[in-house]
Symmetry: C2
Subunit: 216 residues, 2 copies
């Protein structure tokens, strides 16, 4: 799949060893997550707003109510940054200074394009849902034309993209290694709890396998 070309805006100057431009590695991070933060500017004020996303090939799809400030602003074709962050653990060093977090994050820069065509919009709905919970799309009541119209779908071409990854144990200074305190990593993971039936659900409808066995 090749590599993303680093630009001055996506080149890590500090700690360049944490930079990742390999397309396959970057897409693995994007596909493990499903919530991103979208940064955009309205009247000089930047906002970072969480939202769900889906990916298909070299395109990231965002969606939201056509009435939302974020969707209306981004539809105008303004610069955007979409960031996906996975937190993998706390890194507990001997020195306060070298404490850190193990994480994988992807930063995507560019300008999103509003998807106007109904078929591509419907396909994007499918992509979102299969991204968040594979298997669901085949079972649900599909969107009507009116619902598609009430939703804005944005496509961000994945061109100016970089990932940043920290893994492994703490990196204490040599002279701190004898400091008598526990050091290591405390791994964190997003876990799934047992599903909760909708109160209006008829008791004969059981949660399907793709819900019962869901994990990320």
């Amino acid at each position: 799949m090749g590599k993303f070309t680093p630009t001055p805006r996506t080149t890590l100057k500090r700690l360049p060893e944490r930079g990742e431009y390999d397309r396959e590695a970057v897409y693995e991070i994007i596909d493990e997550g499903f919530i991103c933060h979208v940064a955009f500017v309205v009247e000089g004020q930047p906002y970072a707003i969480p939202t769900a996303y889906g990916r298909s090939g070299d395109t990231l799809y965002l969606h939201g109510s056509a009435a939302s400030r974020m969707m209306r602003s981004l539809s105008g074709g303004i610069p955007v940054c979409v960031t996906v962050t996975l937190v993998d653990g706390l890194v507990l060093a001997r020195s306060a200074f070298h404490h850190s977090i193990n994480y994988r994050s992807v930063v995507m820069l560019g300008t999103a394009i509003k998807v106007e065509e109904m078929e591509e919009k419907s396909a994007a709905f499918n992509i979102f849902m299969e991204h968040v919970i594979p298997g669901r799309w085949a079972e649900v009541r599909l969107p009507t034309e009116q619902e598609l119209k009430a939703t804005t779908v944005l496509a961000l071409p994945l061109v100016e993209v970089s990932a940043k990854v920290r893994t492994g144990p703490p990196k204490d200074d040599e002279e701190d290694l004898a400091f008598p305190v526990w050091a290591g990593v405390l791994p964190l993971r997003m876990m799934v709890q047992p599903p909760i039936d909708d109160p209006a659900l008829p008791p004969e409808i059981k949660a399907p396998a793709y819900v019962m066995n869901y994990e990320r």
Copy 2:
């Protein structure tokens, strides 16, 4: 503790029932998380960058290498948005359209102030660490003056702040309630895995209780 005063920028126009301005409720969300996304603008391009944070009273503290682009940019006193997002579950409706995410997020707008005074900087280090892992600060090798100097600490006064919260089951349209598909919530939670010793750790040093019993 009272309420934050909504401004035009923090007033939810759509779905106002999801807005939360109660200071205590907002601080509960901030205190449950430890990773935020910081949105800021450099040369017309917005960025959303993940980082750890701490809170003390009505101040949010950020920190990072004095050499980092984010810290250098924010030290200049530019508008910033800090967002904390906790993801609580997938909301699986009968219709594709009404699928959603249960989440709690806080958006903080303002201008961060660079903390120059060494004692406040040192106190901020303490606040970060106690926010991320209570009990740790008392055990670690404390920061030297040189380490404090290499770190930029920013204080964001919590004034223009709002939270957005979605909880509970899916909200399908009345006419979809008979659609024969499972509906409900799939709860998600950040879970802690067993700690991993640093490879250089002497075997007689065991992980302390605040590590073994860590949860968020």
